[in-house]
Symmetry: C2
Subunit: 519 residues, 2 copies
């Protein structure tokens, strides 16, 4: 046990200590940071210091309460910087960069990328080294700036609804907040345990060879597609095997279609309406092929590299067993709008309570749990939210797609770029930062965007963007759209041209008309 | 004269026609698109079909009026896609890409960039070829989607406040809208006319040799810095000579300081408090050096490449001479909040009316002129607006910097990343799309951001972002900030993590406290 309550470690100090913990298999001593001058009972123990637990504890602390975080990892921040959002963004950035380099291979100053296969191992190794930076910063920020108390690097054991043991001590609090997150679903198909079968956690933690020239990705959801685009960008044949049509989470046909066209142009292969039957291994226990069943029968694909993007399951077993908190059939803990479970004084937040498994929901859930624990009656209703994913591009959306809008409203108006025209997508607009070379030299790759409008009320009901740099905007646009943002109000805003989303100026071009027209 | 009123040219058709016009020195016949079935008098002639004229005409058309655009170029859209915003974004994208490639030269899959000088000629040639794409699209959109009538590829001559001749015809309208834009200031220092002295217009139009290893940039404003970063990124010694401190348009000391540090790390040289005395040429009339005067005396710098970023002057002479419209000492036409000049039924919009010379002001000015012409009383007050520029990064800001805020409010709270800490900027956060490899391998380059808050009212009063992808967000954030957006409201929004601006989550970490604290 390392008591750090009297130390002021810098980010560099934390960096070194966390690296040391990971260097040994046993992970060493826990870090304990308790304020011995605070004699109050803890208001809450947050079991898990990921997005939900850390933000919940921070909010509770800011309100004047006393939270304690207990986390199995030697760092705060949870799976996001270690296995999830951060590596995903690293790999998606690599995909975007390699799309650019491959598209302009041998032109201008770009190196020749023909037949060049990029090392996945090296990129993952780079991430493994690099992720300690964010870890170290989270610990620094949590201790020095947010005044959080914590026990890190040891799994807490729930004794009862107010008591948790960790690092050889027993901690009591008025409340318990379960923030234990989720993990990739386990599978039991033949060959699931062969070396060469990964999901996003095991990929970054255990990959120890350079994958060959073919990657098989199983699944059609966000994670599957994001990783598939990354593997494709490295120069590997990439085959996506999925039951459903890929990209079905994007609620607009035309946006999906633009993305599919681009992925196919990059050589990606999609076998949908299909399922993985088995992974077949060689004598050394390494993957040598997969067997799949699709509408055209059974087939075998040679590969030494299989990635499963098949969803998450909650880390709820310990809590449901010890405390008897109610969970649904999949194990997700049930909570009310105050984030309270079926057991008195026990709250749950983050992935362990189910979908959407997004950062804002985890962090805001933690905040709402904190407010209720501190005596406020505060209800969290997730409501409408913006969403995004990566292919080789950033893809953002909010609200409804054109199809749903047309089923709901008699007059739907669509403003989009490129518009319908005889040259299709061979148009240099839209284009914004990171898309300019495409606009100049390969315009069909420079992006796609679309606003869906209820013509009668003139309100924006959906927005879609493929390209780069629109994610921040969608965050701020979403609450305005929820409150009824109109074409006229959008057309009055001040665009920063070349803006990634051309929504403001497209609205302005049409807003003069009492009867809105699409374009 | 090519009458295209009965034709439906595709974007490709326009592309070919515009290229043909530029292929010959004389620029060929004008394009005429008039609707002979519309027998109404024109409501307005827009002299100039750039951002201001084209958007004004579109709005007027959408309102049911009849506008006519007359423009000297064979395309609509004006200087932005030809000389200004579009090439600037292309070059800034190149700078961002080269910063990445140079930073990771020889690592992962990156090519070795050591001592590699990139051709400026090739990049400019690429832009010259590529810009016809946006031009063609503008013409397509204006004719086929916006139903605009126009005379292109011929300079209009104002005869009186209601009459303009162009392409051998005389056109009359109820009103005239001057949208003639601006051009780089002319200079008369010794050597200003030598071959090798450029501003942003002549650079893209006339550069015909590969600049040597040293670029001298004169000026400290947006254009000067943006082009200087581009020249630097190509691998040239780049010296910025300016009277004022560079980046003074960014109203926050710490943000400027982060940017200066990064530019200096890239080897850029700044000689401020200095002025250009003369450019010295060789016998062939080509630049061989510049003479400058700075606080340390006079000096000479050898170079064959000088870029002037010294501001714009209005194209107002024709209108002031013929119509007698009032202009200020610099020639900018004076307008009231209805965009009306001193002469009845004559309006003016865009760069020709002065600062800020931004797209939103041009386009919205056009829109307000249109509304007034169509009988509405509509006043355009520019008010607070978000702003941006490029270095090797995208830089966005709105509101006031920390210094001004502290002079106005007794309790100013700052939320920033990286925060003040013993490791300085060697922190992997913030990081978002396009910044991930920096975050992992070179964290001091992954960006900087800052929110400035009035602690008493909890309102956001300033926001600053260095990195990538925040431009869209600043557009939408700005009107919310103007309406009094608080830390609490921002903390309730749904971030799309890893979002470029971490404003939402930083606010949430502190919002629980009645007395806000910085971090």
């Amino acid at each position: 046990m390392v008591d750090i309550s009297k130390s002021h470690w810098t980010v560099s100090d934390w960096h070194e200590e966390i690296e040391n913990r990971f260097a040994s298999l046993e992970r060493g001593e826990p870090f304990i940071n308790l304020n011995e001058d605070d004699h109050r009972e803890f208001d809450a123990i947050f079991l898990g210091g990921g997005a939900a637990g850390r933000f919940g504890a921070s909010y509770l602390r800011a309100m004047g309460g006393r939270p304690l975080i207990i986390d199995q990892w030697p760092f705060l921040g949870g799976s996001c910087p270690h296995h999830a959002c951060v590596p995903h963004h690293v790999f998606s950035d690599v995909a975007a960069q390699l799309l650019l380099e491959r598209t302009f291979s041998g032109k201008l100053w770009f190196q020749d990328m023909k037949d060049k296969q990029i090392s996945i191992m090296e990129i993952i190794e780079m991430f493994r080294q690099g992720r300690t930076g964010p870890h170290a910063f989270m610990n620094y920020q949590s201790k020095e700036q947010l005044d959080l108390e914590f026990v890190l690097n040891d799994q807490g054991t729930i004794l009862d609804s107010k008591t948790v043991s960790a690092a050889g001590q027993i901690y009591r609090a008025r409340n318990l907040v379960l923030a234990t997150g989720s993990r990739p679903k386990e599978f039991t198909f033949d060959g699931h345990d062969l070396s060469g079968v990964f999901e996003h956690v095991s990929l970054v933690d255990t990959l120890d060879y350079e994958p060959g020239s073919t990657a098989v990705v199983v699944g059609g959801g966000k994670t599957a597609i994001e990783y598939a685009c990354f593997f494709n960008a490295t120069g590997r044949r990439t085959i996506v095997v999925s039951r459903d049509k890929p990209l079905s989470m994007i609620p607009d046909h035309e946006t999906r279609s633009y993305l599919m066209t681009q992925m196919l142009e990059q050589g990606m292969e999609f076998i949908s309406d299909s399922e993985l039957l088995a992974v077949v291994g060689d004598r050394q226990g390494r993957v040598k092929s997969v067997r799949i069943r699709s509408s055209s029968g059974e087939a075998s694909i040679e590969t030494d590299f299989v990635f499963l993007g098949l969803g998450q399951r909650p880390n709820s077993e310990h809590a449901t067993t010890v405390l008897g908190v109610k969970a649904d059939a999949k194990g997700f803990i049930e909570v009310d709008s105050r984030m309270h479970t079926s057991v008195s004084n026990v709250y749950a937040v983050g992935d362990v309570v189910g979908f959407p498994m997004e950062m804002f929901k985890a962090r805001k859930g933690g905040m709402y749990a904190a407010r209720n624990i501190m005596g406020e009656e505060a209800h969290y209703h997730i409501g409408e939210y913006p969403d995004f994913m990566h292919t080789h591009y950033e893809v953002c959306w909010l609200g409804m797609g054109e199809e749903e809008a047309r089923s709901r409203y008699p007059e739907v108006v669509v403003l989009k770029l490129p518009p319908d025209n005889p040259d299709g997508h061979q148009i240099a607009l839209p284009a914004g930062d990171r898309m300019m070379l495409y606009a100049m030299m390969k315009p069909n790759l420079s992006g796609f965007q679309k606003l869906v409008i209820d013509g009668a009320s003139r309100r924006i009901v959906g927005a879609f963007h493929v390209g780069s740099g629109a994610k921040d905007g969608f965050q701020y646009l979403a609450p305005m759209v929820s409150r009824g943002l109109t074409v006229d109000e959008l057309g009055e805003m001040d665009e920063l041209f070349l803006n990634p989303s051309y929504f403001i100026q497209l609205c302005r071009l049409r807003a003069g008309s009492k009867v809105l027209r699409g374009m």
